[in-house]
Point group: C2
Chain length 383, copies 2
Amino acid sequence: MAIVAGVGMAAFGRHPDKTVADLGVEAALGALSDAGLQWKAVEGMYCGAAGAGLTPGTRVSALLGLTGIPVVNIDNASASGSSAFRSACRDVDTGAADIVLAIGVGKSGRTLRLDGGVGAPEPGTAEYRERQIGMMQGVLPPAGVFAMRTRRRMHEFGSRIEQFAAVAVKNRKHASLNPYAQMRGPLTIEDVLNARMVADPLTIPHCCPVGDGGAAAIVVSERKARELGISAAVRAIASQFRTPTLAGVMDAQDADTTTVTVDAAYAEAGLGPKDIDLVQVHDAFTVEEIEYCESMGFCERGQGEFAVERGEFSIGGRIPFSTDGGLLSRGHPLGPTGLAQVHETVLQLRGQAGERQVEGARTGLLHMVGIGGVCLVHILQRA
Amino acid sequence: MAIVAGVGMAAFGRHPDKTVADLGVEAALGALSDAGLQWKAVEGMYCGAAGAGLTPGTRVSALLGLTGIPVVNIDNASASGSSAFRSACRDVDTGAADIVLAIGVGKSGRTLRLDGGVGAPEPGTAEYRERQIGMMQGVLPPAGVFAMRTRRRMHEFGSRIEQFAAVAVKNRKHASLNPYAQMRGPLTIEDVLNARMVADPLTIPHCCPVGDGGAAAIVVSERKARELGISAAVRAIASQFRTPTLAGVMDAQDADTTTVTVDAAYAEAGLGPKDIDLVQVHDAFTVEEIEYCESMGFCERGQGEFAVERGEFSIGGRIPFSTDGGLLSRGHPLGPTGLAQVHETVLQLRGQAGERQVEGARTGLLHMVGIGGVCLVHILQRA
């Protein structure tokens, strides 16, 4: 089983003075230092980045020192960092390697464009039709999709926009306690309601910011952890990766893929929702945290927004979600986000999360989705 | 050990009427048909693509049918397809999966730009300095780098530009026998010498074309191959991936990484140069085939251009290189190139390469390098 021996971050925010590679080096050195390992001990590296320029992981590895190890650059859109973490866990799980580094990097000026990066798809092509018929999440400006999902819930469950705003307010409060978060200033329900409209009924604070940042985790085998005397060990007890199924896309696509992926992770870990102490969720839009909490089994369908309003997902509540501020306030530079979730969860499970500590946290669930409907779920547990 | 059960290609060339995803679907269906497998049997997929838009592999998997499998998109520049193939082999080798699809896709209008895709690096940053000091292959327009390497050899070994042109002529002759190749028209030494100059002494035919294309391979476990009754099986008996070492960059960077990687592959397979029947090499520029043949142990240093001139690397010669035309004439759409090498080698080892068949071929070596100096070497062998 894969042990997360160390985590590091380059704080999310605006860093015009730092390159993508600088952000990766900062996060990697943090993780190495946290694990008490030297770069030359690392046997392989995965880098998650979405449209962040030429092979950013290879640039990071060159700056850390030319040790000759394999470096795989993964671009799985928003789920890039989670994919890098999964590949690292898999290499260790299968015995292919003993010490693997997973990093994620992103810069707002270098992130992906929804038109595919180089021009729009050619009219008349399959790619163009895909977007027209709305099969993929990237079809409409994402805020439009999530505005419709929000409206649908308000219609179906009698919920109010204030309840969705409560997700943004809660996550900002969590972020205010997190030095690595991008958005830390105070935020009230009124602030959310009165902010500039993006896609009715979603104003700016309903949508995550895309900034600059880096995050990293060192994954080691159990044998190596014993050999190195690594204490306070956190284990990856489940790692699941799914794309949509035909049955799934007939309903709300991401939410359904989340159900399938989370259920597989619960089965792999031999756990259920009652065993989870905290959740990091893909809350790129406020309605997402609400949808996914239901897909994960923490709420009955149609109850999510009411549970948020009652404080059930706040630190100190029944099951804290997005304890570091989530995509909404910790920020979402695409590449590193999944690894920022690993960073936060490891700190929480070690009892090192300071003012935002979830008391007695032993097991955390991490969830990311990405364009094309990919979904990754990890469960980490304190030994 | 990983078995290559099927290969497929979308011919390299210009396909303005096809999307990146179309090219991937065509190659994938070819590989599935060749293996006698259905898409729903595939347990996981890796897609190699360099700057080919948003998660192209996920788009291909959606078009093949929404089966829910994990899809990892890898962008390792020119080595993307080889990296995807290695990840597929590793999943099968370690027992993580039994049937994995590796594909590569690329379109000339959507390929990477050497400035990083979104603007040039900021002056004063580490990234900018990296390029200034020339640490990475992407620093100068690549033709400039290889023009200097060519001149250096002419100075050091008394070789003539006609000998480098002989690489282009030989590989074009091989490509003329390959229906999947981009450049198939006749080419003479005089044509090469008289073509438009790119970077003195390199004219256009010394440099590979970047076009559109797709390539795919199905990798299965030995157990699954037996179960499916797959005959004429080709095994991946070595799979090595290296990045530069500090010692290596003090000399010619790529060539040295090639030596280290090829030596590791020989050791893994328990073979040496004498056991190899044909080679697919990263011949993006004519001088590369010459440098790498020496790094691989097929020639003494300084002898490569003389060996090419004598026909030793032609089909029918001592050790045929680039039997499908290589990057120089089969073409190099970046993402799929490494998998086109797998396609060609599998056909050769099965005795299905038609007019370009290397008689009695049993063992093939495949070599790709990519920006940042990454190097991948695979050795495939007929069972």
